[in-house]
Amino acid sequence: MKGFLDYVPGNSFLHKLNPLTKLVLALMICVACFISENHILLVAIILLNLAIAKAAGILSRGLMLLKGLTKISLVIFLLQLLFIRGGDVLITLPLNLLITERGVAMAFVIVLRLIGATMPLALMLSITQMNDLSNVLVTKLKIPYKYAFTLTTAMRFIPIFANEMSGIIEAQASRGVELDTRNIFKKIKFVLPLCVPLLITSVKKIEGSAISAEIRGFHLRTRESCYKGYPIRKSDVGVMFFSAFLVFSAIIISGV
């Protein structure tokens, strides 16, 4: 999943929302996912995520995320299937393993939740600039700038790490190291030594960013420093209401 978090510039309705609104929307979608145990509702939320991606002009990234998450989910699905028991036994497997009705239902819920709750966060980060996010955290939520800077710097580096990692893997592959092996332990054995240099360059990069901030007046910054205003417009209020409505419906439908 190369480059799945870096900012995609655009002019859509969603791009123009207040960063805070985007954050609220994403978090409320997550909350709705965790409240709901209803398959149809969860699928609807995933479709909503795709609709959001489409509206922001990043549908291809939305689909790529969905594909990646589905792959990860497959493993989780199988594990949950075997561990959760309840209701009628559907299949009896050797080694005393059972697949039960409740197991199937819950495994689906967990996987759909995972997908439905991860997508909005990744999409939000794709259409929000980190500076804007840290600025609203400081001006609107009154979080100290130091923490906002650390948080957003860390997030900004995730895609850079991902790119670097895939670069390293490609370099190793071109030298004939077989990383496509199906054996997960073998794969870990190959990838682990690669993580050390990655970690070192990562720490260096973050340090460089911190130094760069320091020599450009980081310590002089105050809450009033921010140049751009981040007004809450009607559209923001609308989206906030929609987010609340989403959580509310999840509560009603799931009967929590």
Partner: protein, 280 residues
Amino acid sequence: MIKIENLTFKYRNSKKNALENIDLIIEDGDFVGIIGKGGAGKSTLTYAINGIIPHHYQGDYYGSVKIDGDDTFDKNPSELSLKIGSVLQDIDSQMVSSVVEDEILYGLENFAIPKDEVEQRLSSSLKELGISSLRYRTIESLSGGQKQKVAIAAILALRPKVLLLDEPTSELDPKSSVQIFQLLRELNKKHGITIIVVEQKIMLLSEFAEKLAVMSEGKIVLNGKVRDVMKHSSELESIGINCPRVVTLSNRLIDRGVDIGKVCINLDEAEVMARGLIHG
């Protein structure tokens, strides 16, 4: 004025001194080039000037660095940045934003530049580097050379009294490198900004800088007016710095007793010398 006295620095968890007995005075309005091969301590020296050492990198520190009389120990890098604008060597990690405009805004915001002045500073610094068209681009989509210009523009917008640049042309093609140095010369001559620039390309330094500090293994081995430093071409060669051809040639002529007056440090001077020899 920047006054470095008897400065010795060893990074923590490093065996040898990165800087050793550095004495250097940089006057207001100077245009100083720092040269030396890889690992000579050039970047470390810039860190000592902008306060990253001792505030960010700790280690054994002896001696003193004073900026207009203030010891860098007593002011953190942000306070020092009000006077000294630094462009770091590693261009990727010095970006703090994802879009060019925000990168320039960052320092302006921190410095609390009045809002009605911000736009003017932003657009003029982009214009000076000829990158106005990149304003809304993401940093990630830029080439190395473009990033380097953004980094310089971000510092220029802060209008520092001293500009400290660590290999600002390493990613640039020869033509853009010359343009950057022309810009530095203009800032130096027109606005009296002190320029301190670490640069590997000796041709650029001999053309544009007024003074030269040559580093090797943590020490300053030669220091003075460009022309005076260039007289020592064999010493320069011995520490791995290749002088421009015209310098080597004129030094050799002087050694052989040919009367050409002074060392030539650029092509124009060499031409004058050659004409003189032919006609005289």
